[in-house]
Amino acid sequence: MISTASGTILEVADQIGQSLASLPDWEERFGAIMETGKLLAPFPEEHRRDDLLIKGCQSRVWLHAQMVDGRIHFDADSDALIVKGLVALVIRIMQDRTPQEILEAPKDIPERLGLAQHLSQNRSSGLTSMLKQIRLYAVALSLRTSS
C-alpha cells in the first residue's frame, strides 16, 4: 500500500517514494501504482475532451484543473492502468495546493518517487509531461486569479 500521509508537496512525494522503494520489485511497484489508480475519483465525463489530453504520452491521459477557494483541484483519467496510477500519485502530491506551492515545488519529483530511472526518461509513460502540465495549469490559473 502506498503512503496516504499528508504534508507539503515534498513530504508527500518523499513518503510515496519511500513506500515504493520498500517494495521488492517492479512488478509489485506497478501493482501498487495501479491500485492507487483505482482509488482515483471518477473522472467527470464532461471533461473527457481532446483538448484536456496531455501531450507526450503513449496512452491517453486527461487532466482537468480548476481553482477552488484559491487552491487547484485536479481530475484525471487514463485508458492505461499504470499511467492512471501514475497520474493518481501525482495528483495525491499536488491536489488542492495553491499555484504558488506548485510553482515552488522541486523539479525532481520523479527522482523522489524513485521512478525517474524507469519511467520519466521514457517519453511514453508521460510522468514528466504530467508534471509539466500541472505547472502550466498553475501558471495559467494564477494569472487568471490575479488579473
Binding site: E27, S59, D79, I82, V83
Partner: protein, 401 residues
C-alpha cells in the same frame, strides 16, 4: 552464437536475465563488429579518399572493402552501393533525386506504396507530392496481413513513376512479393524500390533475383552499427540521377563558375562519411554471410511458430496478420489490456518488447486503435527466451485482467 553478443548476458532490474525481443527496432552487435570499430579508432583513424599518407590509404581501402562486402551480400556491384545514414536517409535520397520524373513534359503522375509502409517510406513521398503534385497511391493490406496484389496490378499503371514497397513488414512480419511488384513496375517503366530494413538480417536478399532498381536498408538492424545504411541503386539508374547533397567528396572539380560532379556512388556521398560505421557494417555483413542461412531460416521459423502458436492459444489475444513466415516479427493486441501497461510489466520481468504504433500508424490503427505489442526475435534469440516471454506475459495478464 549467443556468447558472441556480449550484451545478451546482461542482467536487468536487480538480476533478471535480459530477454531482448525488440530486434525489429535494432539488433544487438557481435564482438567482431564492436572490435572492428574500436580497432578503427585505435589503429587506423584518418579521412578517406584524400590523404596521401599511410593511414589515409589504409582507411580508404577498408572503406571500399566494406562497400564490396555490402555489394556481394545483396548481389550488387560496389559501384551501385551508396553509404547513407540509414534506411530513412536512403529513401529521402531516392525521393529527392527522383523528383524530376514528376515534372516537365513526360512527367509521371503517381507514386505507389503500400498500406504497411514504415513512416520512412510514406513521408518522403508526401514531401515529393508537395513539391511536384504527384499522387500517392496506396496498395491496401488484406485482413490476413498480406498485400492486395490484384489491387496492386490496377494501381501500378502507365502514369506511375515509382513503386516503393517494404520487403518484410516491421509491424506484421509479412514478406511481400517484391519480385512481382518490381516486375509490375518494370512493365510500365516505373522505378522500383524495396525497403529491405527488416529482411537483410535473416534472409537471402538478392537484387538480381528481386529485379528491383533500388534497395535500401540500415546497418543497425543487421548486427551492424547505428548511423550507417545503404542505398543500392542499379548503375543505369544511378548514372541518371542528379546529386542529393552538395559538398566535399562528391565532386571532381570545383570553381566558382562551374563544379563537375563525381561519377558513381561518390556523387551521393557529400562530406566525410561515417567511416567506422561503414567498416562496422562490412564486418557485420561478413559475419552474417558466414552463417548457414538455411539453419538461420529454420531457427527463425521455429521461433516465429512458437510465438504465433503460443499467442493464439491464449484467451483474448488477437495476433495481427497471418503471414509472419520466418520473420520473427509478431504483433498482437490483448482484449481490455492497454499495450503500454503490458510493455511496462514485461519490462519489469526483464523482457524487452515494443509497444505503440511502430512507426506504421495507418497500419497499426487498422488492427487496434491504441497500438499493439510487437515481439521480434533475431538469429541469436532462443527458445528459452520465448518461454520466458510467455511466462512474463501470463503473469502480466494475471495482474492486468
Amino acid at each position: 552464437m549467443r556468447s558472441e553478443f556480449p550484451i545478451l548476458s546482461r542482467r536487468v532490474h536487480g538480476g533478471k536475465p535480459l530477454v531482448y525481443l525488440d530486434n525489429a527496432a535494432t539488433t544487438q552487435k557481435p564482438s567482431v563488429v564492436i572490435d572492428a570499430i574500436s580497432e578503427f579508432y585505435r589503429h587506423h583513424n584518418a579521412n578517406v579518399h584524400r590523404a596521401g599518407h599511410v593511414l589515409g590509404a589504409e582507411v580508404t581501402s577498408m572503406f571500399e572493402d566494406a562497400r564490396r562486402v555490402v555489394a556481394e551480400s545483396i548481389g550488387a556491384t560496389a559501384e551501385e552501393i551508396i553509404f547513407t545514414r540509414g534506411t530513412t536517409e536512403s529513401l529521402n535520397l531516392l525521393a529527392s533525386t527522383l523528383s524530376a520524373r514528376f515534372t516537365g513534359g513526360n512527367a509521371r503522375r503517381n507514386v505507389v506504396i503500400t498500406e504497411m509502409e514504415h513512416h520512412a517510406n510514406i513521408v518522403p513521398w508526401q514531401m515529393l507530392r508537395e513539391r511536384t503534385g504527384a499522387e500517392l497511391r496506396v496498395i491496401p493490406v488484406l485482413d490476413d496481413g498480406s498485400l492486395d496484389m490484384a489491387r496492386a496490378e490496377e494501381l501500378i499503371d502507365e502514369s506511375t513513376g515509382v513503386v516503393s514497397v517494404v520487403h518484410v513488414s516491421n509491424t506484421l512480419g509479412t514478406t511481400n512479393e517484391v519480385a512481382r511488384l518490381a516486375e509490375l513496375a518494370r512493365r510500365v517503366g516505373a522505378v522500383s524500390i524495396v525497403d529491405a530494413a527488416q529482411s537483410v538480417s535473416s534472409a537471402e536478399v538478392d537484387v538480381a533475383a528481386i529485379g528491383c532498381d533500388a534497395l535500401v536498408f540500415s546497418g543497425h538492424k543487421v548486427y551492424g552499427p547505428m548511423g550507417i545504411g545503404v542505398a543500392f541503386i542499379r548503375r543505369e539508374l544511378l548514372d541518371t540521377l542528379p546529386p542529393y547533397q552538395g559538398g566535399g567528396s562528391m565532386i571532381t572539380s570545383v570553381s566558382f563558375e562551374k563544379t563537375t560532379y563525381a561519377e558513381g556512388p561518390l556523387r551521393f556521398e557529400a562530406g566525410t562519411p561515417n567511416i567506422e560505421g561503414a567498416i562496422g557494417l562490412g564486418t557485420a555483413l561478413a559475419w552474417r554471410n558466414a552463417l548457414d542461412m538455411r539453419a538461420v531460416v529454420a531457427h527463425k521459423q521455429d521461433l516465429t511458430d512458437r510465438l504465433v502458436g503460443g499467442l493464439q492459444r491464449r484467451d483474448g489475444v488477437n495476433v495481427h496478420g497471418r503471414h509472419q513466415g520466418h520473420s520473427g516479427i509478431v504483433s498482437f493486441s490483448l482484449g481490455g489490456v492497454h499495450p503500454q501497461d503490458l510493455g511496462l510489466l514485461l519490462d519489469a520481468h526483464g523482457v524487452a518488447v515494443r509497444t505503440g504504433h511502430h512507426c506504421t500508424m495507418p497500419l497499426t490503427q487498422r488492427y487496434s486503435s491504441n497500438g499493439s505489442i510487437r515481439v521480434s526475435a533475431a538469429v541469436y534469440s532462443s527458445v528459452d527466451e520465448v518461454e520466458m516471454f510467455f511466462s512474463a506475459l501470463d503473469r502480466a495478464c494475471a495482474v492486468l485482467r
